[in-house]
Symmetry: C2
Subunit: 348 residues, 2 copies
């Protein structure tokens, strides 16, 4: 029976995950390549989606009722979404060998899936496959759902987007400014270079949160306060933004990456603003909107063809990695190393 | 010209307000009794409404844009709502001397108001006047608006109410259980005695947050998690409740009294629950619902007459105070000294 490599969870981390030292978070193992049944396909993982949310599935003492994906068990492969190629099909009429699919492959070389649960992908000429994980994938759906449905941004709104150079944020900026036509879009990102890129995507301005002047800069750019905040980061930036919202302002709470590797999260101290300014905060998860995946990708693909949004190499950071380097590449998410979607391209 | 007493703001406090010492928060002064114009009435303050929100109007360095009532200026009378009696009317046909009204009298013996801005009160036989400030007043409107409109509680919901023995909380418990018919109502209060009273009002159970076992008690009583949380207190209880909400749970954010006297508020560390459980948090202020005042008071008065809700002496803590003791009586709010509405009855 052929064997394959897989990365399994070895220890649940309380701070920054590791792949070495006495208590490594992940461990490389060998396993048998699974065999598909007549309703299944065996796929080979080509491109891995790197998502901050994965960090939340490996926390210690997690109550399975409180996570939106099942927690990864110690000894099981690390959960991950990917673009994969069908290498063996239990039902070739339904899904041919060689087809490309989106699938929860986890950090394994090969995996089997029910064919009806797989999302087939048709390559588009001139478009790198990685974008099906980012600008035209689940990440895009996250941004679209959050800004259009969860907080219902309109032309009359000024919108602030944190993590604006990240995979979700960079789509939110474009959807808000170039599709919805929001009055003003203000990005927040971690370097001047990222900020200039976010402005190229359509943001009226982008502020570098690592500068000493960040708080003053944000206050200046949000003079008169803002209607909408799309929060990708939580922590101190969210806390500051609570003080910059207009009365009845709406906040889309998409993630709290700033706290994911902290054993003791930064607490929100400005919560009284929620009362005094009658703020609405809505947490959301893209999975609740997954039934719209096809429609939204079609709409965004059309917007790209019409030149309304950018879907080019600037929208992703593709890292060619040997299978052995998968965790290290994923960890780049927490170093702010990527602009746009961080994609792992598995190479021999 | 006749003179009168008034309490003015002397220093904006960063922690517990004081009336003595080197930097007293409030100062007793003498002023001229104002004279009403032909469109105004002069009223004498009889009963003062004591509200935690007043604390938020005297914070230092407040941005007037961020408060829902104008901040009190140093040297100006402390803001307060009251039940008052008309002692001189510029237009007796519109408002006769001797009428009772609700008015923003502040902490003054006498004050003038535009007649058309005053809410006249008709005493109800068998009902203490104080209830027009509490169970049948603005406090009731706050609870009604929050639980019925802001989070739209229904028969299918389990509802947790903090500050359940307070003026707003005790009305929320009754409205949720006895008017809406919520499946289960869980109160949180600060003594066992208060808890037993909250259960008498209709709560299925009430938990004492000052007990060492509070966290375990709350977890036990919210097994399976809850749909609705009416938050009167903020801080650590809100933080804990974020972990006890069901998916898509709704939180009405009414106030954060637990932080009002802290220079450094307790921060919320469990905000990620808002994302993972898709929570909705809505801050609100009763002033946005003030146009419904008459309707809601009529509905609650009817509910009281039908025996659905309790409006008796247990629903208020009336403290007879000389004018000189007004600040000390107000401060009882922060000692948990009241059950139901804390009303100051001014006596000679």
């Amino acid at each position: 029976m052929p064997s394959m490599k897989q990365w399994v969870l070895a220890n649940k981390p309380t701070d920054l995950p590791t792949v070495s030292g006495p208590n490594p978070t992940f461990k490389l193992e060998t396993a048998d390549v699974p065999k598909p049944s007549s309703s299944q396909a065996l796929v080979k993982t080509l491109l891995l989606s790197n998502d901050p949310a994965q960090r939340t599935w490996i926390v210690p003492d997690a109550d399975p009722n409180r996570l939106y994906a099942p927690p990864v068990q110690v000894g099981s492969p690390m959960s991950s979404f990917a673009l994969a190629e069908v290498v063996e099909s239990g039902s070739p009429n339904d899904l041919a060998v060689g087809s490309l699919v989106l699938a929860p492959t986890n950090w394994t070389e090969y995996s089997v899936h029910e064919i009806k649960g797989l999302q087939a992908i048709k390559p588009i000429e001139g478009l790198d496959l990685g974008h099906f994980l980012g600008a035209l994938g689940l990440t895009a759906l996250t941004g679209y759902y959050g800004i259009k449905e969860v907080v219902g941004a309109t032309k009359d709104d000024t919108v602030v987007v944190s993590g604006a150079a990240g995979a979700t944020g960079s789509m939110v900026v474009q959807i808000a400014k170039n599709i919805i036509g929001c009055k003003r879009v203000i990005g927040i990102a971690g370097t001047d270079e990222k900020c200039r890129w976010v402005e190229k995507l359509g943001a009226d301005v982008c502020i570098n949160y690592k500068k000493d002047s960040f708080e003053q800069d944000l206050i200046k750019e949000t003079e008169g306060f803002v209607e909408v905040y799309f929060d990708n980061v939580g922590g101190s930036i969210l806390d500051l933004m609570l003080t910059r919202m207009k009365r009845h302002g709406r906040i889309a709470a998409c993630g709290t990456i700033s706290n994911y590797n902290r054993p003791d999260p930064v607490g929100l101290k400005n919560f009284f603003e929620v009362v005094s300014m009658r703020l609405h905060i809505h947490g959301f998860i893209v999975l609740d909107y997954i039934h719209k995946f096809g429609d939204v990708v079609a709409e965004l693909t059309q917007a790209w063809k019409e030149g309304k949004i950018v879907v080019d190499e600037s929208m992703q950071t593709v890292v060619e990695s040997k299978f052995e380097d998968i965790p290290n590449t994923w960890m780049k998410l927490f170093e702010g190393a990527n602009t746009g979607k961080l994609v792992t391209k598995i190479v021999a």
